[in-house]
C-alpha cells in the first residue's frame, strides 16, 4: 500500500500508469491544477537556468582564500589573550612566589626533632632593688633562667596552691 506522498510524487513525475493517475485525479481533483502549474514551472526553469562558466577563476579563488585567511580565529585570540605563554609564565612565577612567601611565614624553621632549636630568650638587662638580692643569668641550649639569690624564704606554712 503506497502512501499519499509516494503516490503524489509519482503522479507529478508522471510515473503512475494511466489508470492509476485517473483514479488519483478522481480522488483529489484539485491536484490536476497543481500538476499543470508544476509542469509550467519545470519548463520555465529548463529554458532559463543555464550554467555560467567563470572566466577569472583564479582571481575568484584567491579572493575567497584571502577572506578565509583574514577571518578572525576565536580560538587563537583566546589562547593569545588569556592562556598564552606570557600569562602562563607570569602565573607560574606568581604561584612560586606565593609558595615561597607562605613557606617562609607559615612553616616553622629549625630542627623540628629538637624542641629547643627555635628557642630565643635573651636577657638584656636585670635590676634588683634590694641590694641583698643578686641576679645571675644562665643560658643553656634551649633554655634561659634568671637565678635570684639572697631572697627571703617564703614561710613553709604559706599555701601557694590555693
Amino acid at each position: 500500500m503506497k502512501t499519499f506522498e509516494e503516490r503524489y510524487t509519482a503522479y507529478l513525475d508522471g510515473l503512475l500508469s494511466e489508470s492509476e493517475a485517473a483514479i488519483f485525479e478522481r480522488e483529489r481533483p484539485a491536484l490536476v491544477a497543481q500538476k499543470v502549474e508544476w509542469a509550467k514551472l519545470q519548463r520555465v526553469l529548463r529554458e532559463n537556468l543555464v550554467s555560467v562558466e567563470l572566466t577569472n577563476t583564479d582571481f575568484f579563488n584567491s579572493q575567497l582564500l584571502q577572506q578565509i585567511t583574514n577571518a578572525p580565529s576565536r580560538s587563537r585570540s583566546l589562547v593569545a589573550g588569556w592562556l598564552g605563554i606570557p600569562w602562563l609564565a607570569w602565573g607560574g612565577l606568581g604561584a612560586v612566589t606565593t609558595g615561597i612567601a607562605l613557606f617562609i611565614t607559615l612553616i616553622p624553621h629549625g630542627d623540628l626533632s629538637d624542641p629547643g632549636s627555635g628557642y630565643v630568650a635573651q636577657v638584656l638587662k636585670t635590676t634588683t632593688i634590694d641590694p641583698n638580692v643578686s641576679a645571675t643569668v644562665e643560658s643553656r641550649k634551649g633554655i634561659t633562667i634568671i637565678k635570684l639569690e639572697g631572697l627571703e624564704k617564703v614561710p613553709a606554712d604559706e599555701d601557694l596552691t590555693h
Binding site: 606568581g94 612567601a101 630565643v120 630568650a121 638584656l124 632593688i129 633562667i145 637565678k147 635570684l148
Partner: protein
Amino acid sequence: MLIRSSVLRTYVAGNCSFRTFLLGAGLLFAVAGLTHAGEAPVVESVWGCLLYASNDRAADKMQPQMPSQIRDYDERLEKLLGYASIQTLGQGETVVEPDRPSSIVFHGNIRVELTGLTRQPGEHFLVVLRVFQKDRQLIETQANVTRGSPLFIRGPLWRSGQLVVAVMVVS
C-alpha cells in the same frame, strides 16, 4: 638585537608586562613588609606559671606536673635547677597592651608585671617584666624573646624546694 625566544619577544613587546611586573614587585614588598614588621607596640597574650622545684617525691604525686606549654622543658629545667621534680602551683594568661602594664597573679601574692612589649624584626619581642612578692619588687628585667620561648626566673625558697616563675609570649 635578534630575539629568538617567542616568550621573551612577547614579554618585551607586551603591553601589560611592565604593569604585571610592578604588581608582582608590589606584592613581594607587601609580603616582606608583613613578615618583617618593624619595631612597633603590639597586643599579645602572655602566659605565665608558678612552679615548685623540689626533691620531694611525695609532693610529686600531690601536685600537677608541668603545664603542657612548657612540658618539653621539664628535663632541662630539672637539670639546670638541680631538683628532681617540678610541680605546677598556678598559671595564668594576660593580654599585654601598649603603654599599660598587665599582670599575672599567683597564689601567695606573687605577681609578674609585664609592660613595653614591642615587636622586633624576625618575630622577636622585647618585653620588660617585673616580679613582685607581695608589694616588694624582686627583679626587673628586659628580655628579647620569641613566641613560645619561655623565660624562667628562679625565685625564693619554699618548703624543701624553690619557686620558679615561667613567662612566655603565646600569641
